[in-house]
Symmetry: C2
């Protein structure tokens, strides 16, 4: 083995040891021509399917790689310029996902196509597919516009109001849910979510009826949130329909997320709410506020009303 | 000419006479294989480019045509076999558009690709392109999920509150703007918009600073709104940044609209607002309420803050 290859091997192994669950979960193998292979971990399953936010982060990682010009970047979570000195569009600014069929744990492929490379933003189409009975079936189709959020202006005039949550120690850690519940939602072990007591009455048969679920959020292994992880955070809480007394599955048809800033380290506040349950569908809005009190992500999804 | 053909001719000519500006504007020529030719009318221009909402309706019309008379794919949303008969998903339920470059009046082509045909919804990818210096350039890339809104449940539990507007006769008809203004915004003649006096101070140098523009809306020629026209309505008012004292152009990067019901005939109420102007971008939310007081469309777009 050459000296260069030996050094590379050490760095790769080192990265594998220090990588977080999230980083391992979104890791990709570059197959060339904008195609990336993923291995979807069963640890991100909830209710029989793979969590939509985690899948969005997998696709988002492929889009980042497609725009980087020379394959994958393994270590740099913070979106810093890489050592080639290029200005890459590493940060999702807007991602829209259309969910076509339920994704299963196991192998998947993400096919990307760069639609436009611009000075301040670039846009990519990306589709996640899986083999089903020997046939490749599309699971999620997306469009995404990326930018370099390090270069964005620091002029902030947000008029939305930061959520008021009970102190961390008064909130409910969802990872402490009973084992029989976590068996159908192993996803909960990935998160250190602490739900506000005012929005978890549904867990004991007393939904508030407000259509609001909010709480504190960080990853269980302490891996700091970044622009890529925010794609997952906006779909990490229980569906807001739980708080309306509808405990069933609420399949997402479409989800668009706008990442508005890189999050500061520490606990984020996440707020989910709906204000238009009608005609068999509902919109679910999500806001993610970082520890500095900045609104770092806004998302809206359209989902089907649970049948139960 | 046979009797059948003669009858058909009369109906076709009759339709041509009664067609509205909007219907002529979104008319398509079917080129086969999911490709449709459009002729983008200069009457829908605002500020040098073609209005993004009108373009969304042109694309939406192509998606509708691509799905008409279609069969079902074998897999439905839950990954189950579905062997029922034909479905006609004529109504946009969710459409996400990524704006890649400025569209000019004149010929354009919309290429559609059906991603999934399901029992209750179908999803299509569609891109609008134009020739530029002899090369086909993508203008807008979209994903869209369609349904049959006639079949949707009539259970409505909307908690958003219908906008309170001044009576029609106290509102400002934008089509009465001075000729020099309408010269750069011929679009205004298509609309019978009447803006609420509380949100048009910007026109006389007194923006409210609230980031809110709302008013009454219908098409100037009286053509009733339908699910397709709602794609245009959500981008028909002036940018909400006008009300923040920023009169410049605010280019849209992404716009997603959820059509939640077919609108009742008559004047609609349209409300635009932003609550997160930050980092050089802002989100613009739009609500469209029909004359029966139902929230029929919700949209959010991400746009770049005007530089002026």
């Amino acid at each position: 083995m050459s000296r260069d290859n030996f050094v590379r091997l050490i760095f790769e192994r080192l990265a594998a040891v220090t990588e977080s669950e999230f980083d391992r979960g979104v890791a990709l193998q570059d197959k060339g021509d904008g195609v990336f292979a993923a291995s979807l971990d069963a640890g991100w399953v909830v209710g029989g399917g793979v969590n939509g936010g985690y899948l969005l982060a997998v696709i988002g990682n492929a889009v980042r790689a497609a725009l980087s010009g020379s394959g994958l970047d393994k270590l740099d979570h913070q979106g810093q310029l890489d050592d080639r000195g290029q200005v890459d569009h590493r940060d999702p600014l807007s991602v829209s996902a259309y969910y076509l069929s339920a994704t299963r744990p196991g192998p998947a492929v993400v096919r990307t196509r760069v639609l436009r490379r611009g000075r301040s933003t670039s846009t990519v189409a990306a589709t996640l597919s899986q083999l089903h009975d020997g046939v490749e079936v599309d699971r999620i189709s997306t469009l995404a516009t990326y930018a370099d959020l390090n270069r964005s202006s620091d002029d902030v005039r947000t008029t939305l109001v930061e959520p008021v949550l009970a102190p961390l120690e008064h909130c409910i850690p969802t990872a402490e849910a009973p084992a029989d519940f976590k068996k159908i939602a192993p996803l909960l072990d990935r998160f250190a979510t602490r739900l506000d007591p005012g929005s978890i009455g549904w867990a004991v048969g007393k939904p508030s009826g407000n259509g609001l679920i909010q709480g504190w959020f960080r990853l269980a292994d302490g891996r700091p949130l970044d622009s890529l992880a925010l794609l997952m955070v906006v779909d990490a809480l229980p569906p807001v329909t739980f708080d309306l007394g509808m405990p069933g599955w609420a399949p997402t048809l479409e989800l668009t997320v706008h990442v508005r800033a890189k999050p500061a380290p520490g606990w984020a506040k996440v707020k989910h709410y709906t204000r238009n349950m009608a005609g068999g569908y509902f919109e679910e809005d999500c806001e993610v506020w970082d520890s500095s009190g900045r609104l770092v992500a806004q998302s809206r999804q359209l989902a089907a009303q649970p049948r139960s």
